[in-house]
Amino acid sequence: MAAPGEAAIRVHGLSKSFGQVQAVRAIGFDVSQGEIFGLVGPDGAGKTTTMRMLAAVLQPDEGEIVIDGVDVAAEPELAKLHLSYMPQRFGLYEDLTVSENIFFYAELFGVSRSERMSRSERLLSAAGLLSFRRRLAGQLSGGMKQKLGLVCALIHTPKVLLLDEPTTGVDPVSRRDFWAILYDLRESGVTIVLSTAYMDEAERCSRLALLHGGAIRHCDTPSRLKESMPGALLAIPAADPRGMRDALVGKPGVLGVLLMGDRVHVRVDDAAKRIPELHALLEGHGFPGAVIEPTEPGIEDVFVALLGQGSAS
């Protein structure tokens, strides 16, 4: 087992193509033990393909994955002893009950009966599923299914947990339960890799890899990614955000415009210089008295800024 702080996962030059499509292009990263490492990117960025190769269910074309000292390509079955993988699509048996699914995965990983009992009790209660043990998995809500997936993934003691968009389509309460379990795991030294399309979730990761077109564009902690964002970010509340965006795009000094609900985020090269200019500009386009204030960038702003406007909407 890797010592604390040492790389639990090392990925180097990993590539995978499907016919003409280069799904993953020569990516590389290290994940330390106890980290929550996030893969962030739009649909088709290559998150699932990367996860599948990490989980040793998909053979890479090129590159190396070492998980906890085990070369995954050379010894996939050995690596699987210490992995838990939750695929993007619900992967449990819908015609089995909650307890039956847990029993099945516990047996596959050789978990003792007493350990299974105590673990499932604890995990089910953390997931708020205790009263659903006899229910068929197919009759659970989307959020409950994902939590059951996590329970089954954690019924043995994995060293590395791989979660592919685990909270997509999950209600806020279930998401909170879900993250509470993840934080607990991190405390106990489990290394977690998760992919997500939610920016607020990305923000909770210890480090992020921004994936686009199969390549890692940036990889750092959320705060340093924010610092590395060029320019300054301004927020403008707007009754007609789309109209305001159209008024701002392409104007001098404006590096990017992003809709954030009822506000517009504008990235400019120099805040002090541009704020008066923007006031004047907006007046002229029928937005008098706009309140323009500097704001802290979220990961979404960083994402758009670093990957370019192409993936903004």
């Binding site: 599948r52 269910v57 695929p87 992967g91 048996y93 596959l108 990983f109």
Partner: protein, 377 residues
């Protein structure tokens, strides 16, 4: 190999079959329905074969022969014909499929030599029916011969040995009453087991792909061999239960005489089940949709099994190339074995040839199946 993982897989699969109406229907209803449909419907047991009689002599002796045909219950005389061409005419119109021609000097020849020819003509459009009718006719003639011989013996008490040599042996063995059902029903059992078994296992791997459970399954330490064995165990139990049911119906409902031993039946049936389930599993590994897999399984088992297993169409009457082809049709071995166990009471030693064929088949299928499934997307 890890027994715990294997048993977990077997248990999970059992639960799934139990909760899947489609699998349950295939496992429980299909044997019942097919036993009824094939056992009765395809039964080639023909009663009252329409018979034309061209009695050129019309003597007491010739009428006695005709009476024997009628009283056997297998034939009914539709037409009494007075010209040779009438036979052709009646057959063309479908009024009879068999005809007997009794020559003018029948009783004279019989009295003089103790034997006389009777010509039997069959419409062989339907080879099966013809075979069976021919068997019946031979049976009737054999009985007549026995009677005539007895008469002749008492009349010519001085030379009994001569007659003993000219008597015709009945050429039909093991199925003395010539009841075709005895012949067909064991074949039906083989066909049902082949169909049902392959149908069930054809769903087992494709179901995991189709429902999206495969990706998570192959991310666990379970081995390909454990997946295969764990999945096949429940279907083996179902297959043996279906076999028990079908064989019991054959014995107790269709009254097929059972002369062999239950042990021989069990061993050979188990071997056959291994082949059948292995083939369904192979198909399931290759085709990732349940519908596709079950249709391929149907096609792959149905046609060869019904046409080339010898269960209705006798293999020794097939053209040589097709006969050679039947060696690749695994049910042919089991059909042969079942008939031999049922009607001849054969033991394992007697059955070495078809058992060898079936064993080689089983070994090949298991070898292929164990290698077919890969834990990869």
């Amino acid at each position: 190999m890890n027994l715990r993982r294997l048993l977990a897989m077997a248990f999970k699969e059992t639960l799934q079959v139990w909760r899947d109406p489609r699998s349950l229907a295939v496992a429980l209803l299909m044997p019942l329905m097919q036993m009824a449909i094939l056992g009765y419907g395809v039964s080639l047991d023909i009663k009252h074969v329409p018979l034309c009689v061209y009695d050129q002599e019309n003597s007491q002796a010739s009428r006695a022969i005709v009476d024997r045909f009628v009283s056997s219950g297998w034939f009914s005389v539709g037409h009494v014909i007075s010209r040779e061409s009438g036979i052709r005419y009646a057959m063309d119109r479908g009024e009879c499929i068999a005809a007997i021609v009794i020559p003018v000097n029948f009783s004279r020849t019989l009295a003089a030599s103790g034997s006389a020819p009777v010509q039997a003509i069959f419409d062989a459009t339907d080879v099966n029916t013809t075979n069976i009718a021919l068997g019946y006719a031979q049976g009737v003639v054999a009985q007549a011969n026995a009677a005539v011989a007895a008469q002749w013996n008492s009349a010519h008490a001085a030379q009994p040995s001569l007659v003993g040599q000219t008597e015709i042996e009945p050429s039909v063995w093991f199925n003395e009453t010539l009841d075709s059902r005895y012949f067909i029903v064991p074949g039906v059992v083989a066909v049902i087991l082949a169909l049902v078994g392959a149908q069930l296992t054809s769903l087992t791997i494709s179901r995991e792909w189709e429902r999206g459970t495969m990706e998570q399954l192959i991310s666990t330490p379970i081995t390909a061999l454990e997946v295969m064995l764990g999945k096949l165990i429940p279907y083996f139990v179902i297959g043996m239960a279906d076999a028990t049911f079908c064989l019991a119906v054959a014995i107790f409902w269709f009254s097929v005489p059972f002369r062999g031993s239950v042990g021989t039946l069990f061993v050979t049936t188990a071997l056959f089940n291994v082949v059948v389930l292995g083939i369904g599993y192979l198909i399931s590994v290759r085709i990732r949709s349940q519908l596709g897999a079950s249709q391929v399984a149907l096609l792959v088992t149905m046609l060869p099994t019904t046409l080339l297993s010898g269960y209705t169409f006798p293999i020794d009457q097939m053209p040589a190339p097709i006969r050679a082809l039947t060696f690749f049709v695994y049910p042919r071995y089991y059909v042969t074995i079942l008939r031999a166990i049922f009607l001849k009471g054969s033991g394992l030693a007697d059955l070495w040839a078809p058992l060898l064929g079936l064993s080689l088949y089983a070994a090949a299928i298991i070898w292929l199946a164990a290698r077919a499934f890969r834990k990869r997307l």
